[in-house]
């Protein structure tokens, strides 16, 4: 995955640009959806969600980095050791918000 030609649009640049764009669009839609459906969120919902997101991004970066360093086992380990917990945190945050929305 290391290009011999170090142009501007490397795979890494493209990927992280896509991730950044997706996050921007995603947050915009999410907050809009919360307002439209009058869903209330608490500060710890956001804390959990952001922690999960940060851990997910850390996982993605280290998976890609491990593959670039030609340590494929490390990529798999990151997916399990930090990737699964990140998904759990995100799921937990989503469940908290959903449960509060059901109650109200």
């Amino acid at each position: 995955m290391i290009e011999n030609y170090a142009g501007t649009w490397t795979w890494s640049t493209l990927l992280w640009s896509f991730i950044a764009f997706s996050l921007g669009v995603g947050f915009t839609l999410l907050i809009g959806w919360f307002r439209e459906h009058n869903i209330k969120t608490a500060w710890y919902d956001w804390m959990l969600g952001l922690a999960g997101l940060a851990l997910l991004l850390y996982t993605i970066q280290n998976i890609i980095g491990s593959l670039m360093e030609i340590v494929p086992k490390s990529a798999l380990m990151f997916a399990m050791v930090t990737g699964i917990p990140s998904l759990i945190l995100l799921a937990l945050a989503w469940r908290l918000v959903a449960r509060r929305a059901e109650v109200t």
Partner: protein, 510 residues
């Protein structure tokens, strides 16, 4: 209804699409682009032609963009080539060259931008190699720096040493300015990290008394030296080959060379992780060459600046790990090598130049690496195929035992490779070298497997390193995780990729 709507009908839109498509097809047919996907694929990934960006087109064989008349073209006699002297009289050549030297001196005196003596010295360093690599001890290179008499090169450029003959002002800077300057030149010359130290009664203990070419005394039982390093009150370093009736020689270091530039010579990590193998061996050899080339360039620079220096090729006179650790380029680890904060021990060596150029000193560092070896890690020792690295938890003041059996010596003489006086894990260098010799490789398994030998793509390394530096609480955990995650020597299924994936172009220094 939406506030935004198009005034174009569906019919017109489809017509537009068709026109655009036809135009695109016509353009594609007219230009020498790829006619099909097979051609496209062959052009960008056949592994023969260079992998150019997509917009670069391939032409026919022997048909460059410069038109050639093959009937008119013929072989050119380069022996009679001249772009300067043949077009002038001898007197005019001399006049113009004298004017060039005078202009050069004036630029230096006026300290014109990028035309100072420092800049001129850098130019000398860039041209240092020309023909021979010269001598990495004295830095003498016949083609770039010999000054003899008044002869002029009958070519357009004036030899760089002429400005020294003509009395150019010696470069003067504060030690700190000189240090910044040397770091810039070291990077240019092919070095990595740079540090500085001084030569005093303590650090002098890490200069060899003598050295060997590795062959002459290989089969002698006595502790005989091929050459001896001595300090004398002389102006310039020199080599005296008449030192003894035999072929011993002395290499003289002027006593006034009290400052040292210590620099790291790296090697290609990606190749060196294929350990042990011939590809790793190639990387090792290339890095030694790189170190000698860097040394020659730096010595040329220092001399062109108006100072003097002696270098350190791969065989001495300075103990590499000692100078590297004392000056703050890294810490000595279990594997006996210098472990650097950036690339771990996967360097070739830390070289030292002794000089009279005023320089400051930089202090040793503590990044928790030596402590990591002591408290938690035996990865290099576990991986060493020659069983040359001790697995004892704590370092010792002792040297390798003469009874050590690794490598099956006939009569181990550890005093020939272990120097007492510092606390470390004494490397059984016979066992190490024996594996090199019997495996037909340069091994480097220890360096490749070390937990600090990491490339800089995965961000986890920059998370772990600070924690190791700050506390030993997680050392055991990190050691185990390093093993579980598979970091270390590159998986063998990727070793052969080298031949299909050329190295990235990374510039002239690495």
């Amino acid at each position: 209804m939406s506030a935004f709507h198009s005034t174009i009908s569906r019919r017109d839109f489809m017509k537009g699409l068709g026109l655009a498509g036809a135009g695109f097809g016509a353009t594609a047919a007219a230009s020498p682009l790829f006619h099909d996907l097979d051609e496209l694929t062959a052009s960008v990934s056949d592994g023969v032609a260079e992998k150019w960006p997509w917009y670069i087109k391939e032409r026919e064989y022997l048909d460059p963009t410069t038109e050639i008349d093959w009937d008119l073209a013929k072989r050119f006699n380069f022996d009679t080539y001249s772009n300067f002297e043949a077009h002038l009289t001898h007197e005019e050549v001399r006049r113009r060259q004298d004017a060039t030297v005078a202009l050069n001196l004036e630029n230096m005196r006026q300290k014109k931008l990028l035309k100072t003596r420092r800049d001129q010295a850098l130019k000398c360093a860039g041209w240092a190699h020309s023909g021979t690599f010269g001598d990495t001890f004295t830095g003498i290179d016949s083609s770039a720096f010999m000054a003899s008499g008044e002869e002029h090169h009958e070519q357009n450029w004036v030899p760089d040493y002429k400005f020294i003959q003509a009395g150019a002002p010696v470069w003067e800077g504060t030690p700190e300015e000189n240090a910044r300057m040397m770091r810039a030149v070291c990077r240019f010359a092919g070095a990595a990290e740079v540090a500085f130290l001084d030569l005093n009664e303590k650090t002098k203990k890490f200069i060899y008394t003598g050295s060997t070419d590795g062959v002459t005394t290989a089969f002698t039982k006595e502790l005989a030296g091929y050459c001896n390093y001595v300090f004398e009150d002389v102006d310039k370093p020199y080599v005296d080959i008449s030192y003894s009736p035999f072929y011993f020689k002395k290499q003289v270091i002027p006593s006034k060379y009290k400052h040292a530039v210590v620099f790291i010579v790296r090697e290609d990590q990606r190749l060196s992780r294929r350990a042990p193998s011939n590809i790793e061996g190639a990387s090792t050899g290339k890095a030694y060459q790189q170190g000698e080339l860097a040394t020659l360039r730096l010595l040329t620079f220092i001399r062109a600046l108006g100072y003097g220096g002696v270098g350190n090729g791969s065989l001495g006179p300075q103990l590499k790990v000692a100078w590297g650790a004392l000056s703050g380029l890294g810490e000595q680890g279990r594997l006996h090598s210098l472990i650097t904060p950036t690339v771990g021990p996967l360097i070739r060596y830390s070289a030292t130049l002794l000089t009279d150029l005023p320089l400051p000193v930089t202090n040793p560092i503590d990044a928790g690496m030596h402590r990591f070896c002591e408290t938690a890690c035996t990865k290099c020792a576990d991986a060493c195929p020659g069983s040359a690295i001790p697995k004892d938890k704590e370092p010792t003041w002792d040297i390798t035992s003469p009874d050590a059996a690794a490598g099956n010596p006939d009569h181990l003489q550890p005093e020939r490779f272990n120097n007492p006086g510092h606390k470390r894990w004494p490397l059984n260098q016979f066992a190490c070298a024996n594996y090199w010799a019997t495996s037909c490789t340069s091994c480097a398994v220890c360096s490749a497997t070390c937990v600090f030998t990491r490339e800089n793509f995965a961000s986890v390394h920059e998370t772990v390193k600070p924690l190791i530096a700050m506390t030993t609480a997680f050392n055991g955990f990190f050691f185990n995780m390093d093993k579980q995650f598979g970091f270390g020597v590159m998986p063998e299924e990727h070793w052969d990729d080298f031949w299909d994936n050329p190295l990235a172009i990374i510039g002239n220094n690495y």
